[in-house]
Amino acid sequence: MVFGEAEDGVRMSWNTWPATNAEASECVVPTAVVYTPLKELAQGAVLPYGPLRCTACRSALNPFVTVDFFGKTWACPLCSARNHFPQPYAALAPDHLPPELLPHHTTVEYVSSSPSASPPVFLFVVDTCIPEDELGFLKAALTQAITLLPESATVGFISFGAHVYVHELGFSHIPKSYVFNGAKHVSKDDILNYLNFFVNKNKPPVGIIAGVKDGLSAQSIARFLLPACQCEFTLNLVLEELQKDPWAAQTDARAARCTGPALSVAAGLVGACVPGTAARIMLFIGGPSTQGSGTIVSKDLSESIRSYKDLNKCAAPYYQKAVEFYGEFAKQLVNQCHVLDVFACSLDQVGVAEIKVAVERTGGLVVLAESFGHSVFKDSFRRVFESKDHDLGLSYNGIFEVNCSRDVKIQGVIGPCASLDKRGVSCSETVIGQGNTTAWKLCGLDKGTSLCIFFDIIPKELSGAAGQSNSNLFLFQLLTYYQHSSGQMRLRTTTLARRWVNGHRSTEELVAGFDQEAAAVIMARLASFKMEAEAFANLLQLPQDDSDKILKERFPVARLVVCDQHGSQARFLLAKLNPSATYNSDMGSPPGRDFIFTDDVSFQIYMEHLQKLAVQS
């Protein structure tokens, strides 16, 4: 069975599907596709022209179409509409097929001939409420990153603590920054006003989106966002003189850190300057937000950061508000097509739980580490900018669409994307993830970005129209329109055809078509998507339930010892484990693990002992 990962970047839980309702209902695992839109394919074709699309359903030409070579027409396999080939396809013949019709080219990529989009913008948003040494590490990392930036890349710089400082990198006289009150919400309109984008110009009365199109001069934008090569000196100076936040925290309080407002300002800035074009907001934080919208904990140290227990009990006073705030923030970013990346380095929590919605919706990156000096951060951060073999292939502005046969309905997508609310006949009434749409926005995507698309496949016997052409096939077409890291606008289409099975061998075929790994991934996504506080509690409850079930089958009744880590009962479990690190070992405790207080030997020592005996004999 060809699962299609190498060719198409696709894995499906079920590659075949029962044609009968009864059998379909037995399939507990949902039908879903795990799709990696930018996967580097072994034989993907990159075509230097635009796609030919079905006039009815907008599907792109694909190997599954029925071609009438004489009439120069083709029938769309998804909607059965008949289309004419235009002039460029005049030479079409069975032995002279365009690449997109070749059977193995189920995935092709079209490259638009239109000029490249604007280069990506990197807006660094840096927390300065971190210890001096951490700040030093961070500065070093940023300084290095600047040198790694693609030449065309545009940069901006925001630092924050109690207030938000937007650095005007285009101002050459002295370092200059705009300061926003960290306790106050700042909208994009405020940004437009405050940063004097409309000086001596009439501000459009309504519906400002801004950017050059809406009246901002390129000059005024270049005050804040400009090519790295042009502001390297200024930027380095700013970095060099970046200080720990001057509003020094009291010793008995958390630092005043306005992560939320800083992000609002950042989003406002890119939203005002470069809406709709590639931009990443890269947030570097070293602690929880304590000021302004999106606060997750108060400055008072006597109040501890919310834990899962608090969330469970709804005892996290800031949580709900913060989630709402970041939700709105995510919407704004999606509207602007901008990405949020989070680099959080702290021994304590920083509030990713609240922020994550924005990262997810925009397809951003998250890196968590203990310190900005830690290699996890340093190496990850460097990778982001690397342009050689291991680059992440960061791409932007993606729009992902699904077309499918009539008997297939789309329930939704779980993955780093946001619904574009494009409803159609293909939308299922059942919704999983981002549903009720056939198109999604991927503000940011890279080679590793994958989406999990859930389908509602109506058994053949129920779908009236089924059984005509390609009788036992059902098809999906996945279209991804995006800005490639090179700046080109591209469209990747992947067309998939899967079969219905019926009759006595159906079970066998179904099993053969089952992809266990894909199913595991899909289930995991589903679980994590559903996982909120209760969901997590349920998850924890599961082993308890399992053990109860097992115990009921045992006689005599087994003793149940709950071995919480670091609890006194933990020794029972540890004694049963392979004691590779004991109080006797000279290595000390491995990180994150415990000593085992036992004189028992470990498996390794036992094996060494056996080897010795074997050699002796």
Binding site: H163, Y165, E168, F171, H173, I174, P175, K176, S177, Y178, V179, F180, N181, K184, D190, N193, Y194, L195, N196, V199, N200, L237, E241, P246, W247, A248
Partner: protein
Amino acid sequence: MGSPVPPGERPGYPNSTGYPSQRAFTPVPSDSAGALAGGMQNLNINRPPPPPWATQQAPRPGAAPQGMQNSGPPFVPAGSRPMGMGVPFTSTNPPHAPQSSASPLGVMPSGSLAARPTGRPAVRPAGPNYGGAPPVSAPNSNMGRPVTTPFVQRPNAPPSRPPGAMPVQDGLGSPFAPGLNVNSSNQGINGTSPFVQGAPPMRPPFSQGANAMHSPAGFPRSSGPTAASGAGTVPNAQRPLASAVPPPQIPSASHTPSPAPPNTFPAPGLAPSSVPPPPFAVASQRGPPSSSSLYAAQPWRPPSQQHNYPDSYVPPPPPVAGNQTPGMFGMPAPPRHLSQTIPPMPPTMGHPPGSGVLGMGQPGSPAGGQASGPSRIDPNQIPRPVPNSTSIIFETRSNNQSNLPPSATSDFIAKDTGNCSPRYMRCTVNQIPCSGDLLSTSGMPLALMVQPFALPHPSEEAVQVVDFGENGPVRCSRCKGYINPFMRFVDQGRRFICNLCGFSNETPREYHCNLGPDGRRRDADERPELCRGTVEFVATKEYMVRDPMPAVFFLLIDVSMNAINTGATAAACSGINRAIADLPEGPQTKVGIATFDSTIHFYNLNRAFQQPSMLVVPDVQDVYTPLQTELIVPISECREHVEQLLESIPTMFQHNKIPESAFGAAIKGAFLAMKSTGGKLLVFQSVLPSVGIGALSAREAEGRANTIAGEKEVHKLLQPADKTLKTMAIEFAEFQVCVDLFLTSQSYVDIASITVVPRTTGGQVYYYYPFSAVADSAKLYNDLRWNITRPQGFEAVMRVRCSQGLQVQDYFGNFCKRIPTDVDLAGIDCDKTIMVTFKHDDKFQEGSECCFQCAVLYTTVYGERRIRVTTLSLPCTSVLSNLFRGADLDAQFTYFLKQAGNEIPTTPLKQVRDQMTELCISILHTYRKFCATASSSGQLILPEALKLLPLYTLALTKGTGLRSDVRIDDRSYWLTRVASISASLSVPLVYPRMFPIHNLLSKDIGGSILPLSLPLSSEHIDSDGIFLLENGEDALIYAGKMVSPDMLQQLFGVQSVDDIPNNFLLQEYENDHSRKLNELVNEIRRQRCSYLRLRVCKRADPTEFLFFSLMVEDKNALGLSYVEFLVHIHRQIQTKMS
């Protein structure tokens, strides 16, 4: 305890080296011109080398570079005094120069002046001149106050008297009240003039003078009885005077201590032949004319108690040839009569020193011979201020009596002998009415002009600092009044009785001292607090709620498009850059800088950084400070950053296209940055605040429309537009932030609204309208420099206490008042005056004394907490005529001025004008009714002390504050200025001085720098003359149409007036005329503590109208002529009488 600080260590302001005791007017150095935005090169007022700096800058000696100052003699030359009204004593008397070195008065070597880096001061070093001063004995040096009659003068002041030996002006006055006869019915002798010399029988003034002058204290010993006997009867009294050579004159001439030989002052006009008979009769009127009058019943008090203020005075007779001391300005001229006789000649000073009061009605024919001619009023003969150029020494008390203070506008050296110097406190009346009824009958106000940090004369003893250790100063345990010379120690010194509340306190044991035979403590003379009217106490912890604050100076500069384009930003930056060099050094001195347009730009001055960085606060509705520290840093640590920043600000913003100004938000932001310390916020603002907190609208247009429409509420535009700024200002004051505004505008900025901030925080407003970078940069710099270097204090609280019987009614000035008894002064400096009014709540005993005590708790610029206590004890009287004798013209007029300032924003102008006139009339009426009953009703009798009140009142009603055709901003600015104006500057503000400057080299002027000033009447504007008119702040130059091109060439380097550029800068050319003019201008600057803004008024130009509108004695659209006004007043009085 209470040990006086040795002089060398005195922290006292002016004389100690720490402060420049005078204001320096330094030119913008040529090399800095380039730093200013284009078009400002002309600032280089003085061409470099030889005389590198034209006299233009009139550098004050005090402006000498620090090093120079320190190395120089510790004292400051007198001539450099910023405050003095008078000309430096001696510059007029070169012949005496030699003496100068021996003069006890400080002399600054001229060399040190010449060494000033800013260039040779144009002005002749004042020091030597000063020293050359003739013995300062001229008793009558008070401007406008006819202190001495010739009679009294004669005996006093022998020429040989050493300077200072003579108490200035005690008792010199003649008791005669000159009568001004406004006689419409030919009552005059000649009968032809409405103003006839009043024939009322007048006695010559007492001859007490002679004795008085011989008394060691210089106190007149004139016998009361004599005075009494003379009361208003002897008709002949005036005859001798008027008729010709009154014997007194001779002595008076001789009294001129310094030779001032007649030939020095040829004053052709004075030639006997040309001397007309006195135009006015000498209505020598004795104070209480008739015993029948209730109030007049009490004659003069015994001489020793008299301050001998003549309450009226007899215009002098025509001078006798050879005798006359020309009424030269600058002369220690005694001779009132002399000048009186001078026909309306240019050089004459409008009115002779003595002639003060209108002896109107004597048929003096103005230009006629000595014989009485046709009677008419000669405008030259009616009372006008008489300048004097000599310094007098004034002892505040002698023989346990308070002495009448010299005029605030005169040049005097006060010796604190128990009462504070009149510079610090000046009362509207120098004898306190025993009862409230008496006060209200008099029609006079009872108010104190308090200027606690007034700049002393350089020759005055510095205020002594007394440290009582940790117990703090001794105070009355009931009223908390501070120990002062008038607290009476009893019971062998074990107790003392508070002179304010009468409570008997126990003397603290460690403060105990035995009493001498005279009942005084034996140590009284060693303890400043027991023998001085002004002392400073070191404040203990008890007086602090926190550590004394550092001296913080935060500079806030407008960089909006307009400010950039007009060069205001460049001028401010350049001015600041130069001025900060003069900030008091030390770790306690901190600075911060911010700029603003529609946003606020702060600067991080942390020296750890390579350069300052800019932090923009864009939210002008809800301001915050971008950093907690680093915005305000010690000047010693950030001088380079600050200099670099100020140099680059004009460049950084040169393309700024933002027209809006967020003034309100900017000051709020700066305030937030300063909140933790407090300090001075200096704001340079160019346009109307249009965005952010406290934004204002251009309501002036609305005002114009209303005016045209005859709308009655026009004055509302003189009130703040809303309460936002007031609320902010109160908060500023609470956190000890004092705001000064430098308004470099070219359009309406709604001064009425924005000045609420400086007025509430003890700040000041400087107004440069219409701003010209070329013409105003130098003034801006000098104003700023003076602002930051003048004696001043921070976080001050002031309270005035007074003896039981009176209570404080209200305070007026620039401050914030949160509780009724105290005023809070975020900043207080030497230029600020606070008026305090009083009312009776009880009666005083005749013969008792009423004491006023002002205590100011403040922090010095060096971070020391001090209490400055000034005490003034005045006799009480139940005799109305004594009240008039003791009336203080300057203080009373200042009261008028401030009262008008208070009324204008809430009352239609015409009403205020009428109120002011009525106020004047009612005082004169009272006098006429109760103190001059004997005189004929046809006479206008003016009390001697207040004889100029009508003139000043007239000028006031025609001035910026009250005339109707004034821009709203100009009026608002005037109101602001008036609110804190001192007694010494209030008169020139409404009655400017006018000097002819086309004949500065003529012998009339002799050696004096200042020529005689002219009456403000267009009669004196000769068509071939050039005139300079100054009011303490601005100066106008007007050239007649026949003026010689040669003179123009010499003075201004052009052939025709029209060639003088509008933005004109005075330069010094290589000729004597030009040098002299520069000297003159510099001298005025020195006197006024202000860098005069010079403007040229051209014919057929609005400026010409401006110039002539200042001729307040003319009849014009603004009102009556002076003579007509006197007639008007007289009629009103007559009406009231009948």
